[in-house]
Subunit: 245 residues, 2 copies
Amino acid sequence: MLNHSLIVRTAPQEVPAACANCGGRTAGICAALDTAGLEEISHETRRTAVRPHDMLYHEGDSAQSVVMLMRGVAKLTRQLPNGRQQVVGFRFAGDILGFTTRRSFASDAEMLTEGQVCRISRLDFEGMLARFPATQRRLIDLCSQELAEAQEQLVTVGRRQAEQRVAAFLIALAEAARRRGQSYDVLDMPMTRAEIGDLLGLALETVSRAFTQLKKRGFVKELGRGRVELPDIPALAAMAEGDIE
Amino acid sequence: MLNHSLIVRTAPQEVPAACANCGGRTAGICAALDTAGLEEISHETRRTAVRPHDMLYHEGDSAQSVVMLMRGVAKLTRQLPNGRQQVVGFRFAGDILGFTTRRSFASDAEMLTEGQVCRISRLDFEGMLARFPATQRRLIDLCSQELAEAQEQLVTVGRRQAEQRVAAFLIALAEAARRRGQSYDVLDMPMTRAEIGDLLGLALETVSRAFTQLKKRGFVKELGRGRVELPDIPALAAMAEGDIE
DNA sequence: CGGTGTCTTGACGGTACTCAAAATCTGTGG
DNA sequence: CCACAGATTTTGAGTACCGTCAAGACACCG
């Protein structure tokens, strides 16, 4: 339980440069590379299509490569001895998964949706870090962001009750969509109640009841198949903070 | 709730170099500096004695300086709107506090014990990062460690019940002592039941009851005033994992 | 020795978990 | 297009764990 991983989140719209071999989309760390660096990294990446339930890597596996999630949604989980799982977080297009300074991955990474990933070997990634110091600075920024989210999640799980936790989850989901430049009042939510529960430390039934309540209050509408509308985000945020009700 | 901080933990015994102006103790980032770097940073640090309840910085304050904790124990907390607090973590001698890529600190930092700190202005710290790329690599490693602990804490708060959480807390405390090269079967525990509860998402009474149980089972002995003995760490770890009882 | 802060223990109630069953949705094949 | 199987979601009932309130014990300090 003492191994660890560094899973960083990128902010594409803050990143002007494009990653050569990654379909023209801007992907995280690439922003810190100059032309020579992009040229170099483009020889070292492989692009793959992935489908729901595909495992990107397993907890404990030798961390041979880093994965850039180009399209789709993935979940990071840690297995517990009693057979249950803790969802450590969800990751979206533009995020980097599986970078760690340790030998092995600290969590499972599983796709929730279809998508595409770029893989780069850890050796090449490390080499890139050594040759382009600017990428290191960028990794620190990304890690900083990641850490902030983990701490925020700690507050959610530690000090809020069920309905507040679900509200906080929805706010975080909207914030992630906003950062990717997508609409954030109507957004994709491809995760199941069970997976949300495993993130929030709640039973899936409790998550379901919380959604029912939030829908009754008019804070959430479900538009069918993993798509939700948040008609009043400020009110939802206030509820997550415990300011109302 | 969307600001963030990077608070990194060092591992002194893995760090051969010494920080010139820091009393000969090895302190985190310094390991990545060559002689010129040490010379330079030694001009930029200030040493201060601190006492219990001293605030090292406040959440939201402009992040003007980075704090190296040379001696003592501090807690990092985030305030919640309803007046309660979440303890994000405890920090020990050798840890670096308050480094962030954002403008302001993401948490309060308060001393629990007497101690000593070195301060370096953020500007100088950033300058050092720019001039000595090796320090960036080291910051990434430290951040990686920090993130792993936050995720571990998520598992603890999300999926364990009260007695398991307290057991996991004690194991983490012992692990932190081990990393600092101290004894880990007998160790200092200067935090109150309330502070432990605010870390674990439990009421202080629940923490107290859990300690009573653990003492009855013989997993913990209290040696008076903030000092505990862990006679059977493997059993304690098994309990934290939910393997026994 | 009193005052303050911390810790312990007890009683009670509420939130959320568990177990269970029904309802709804989704995709597949006839 | 419809029927069906499987997965997911919803809802209900009962219970357990933990939070809250309260009182007393204990330790520390002036």
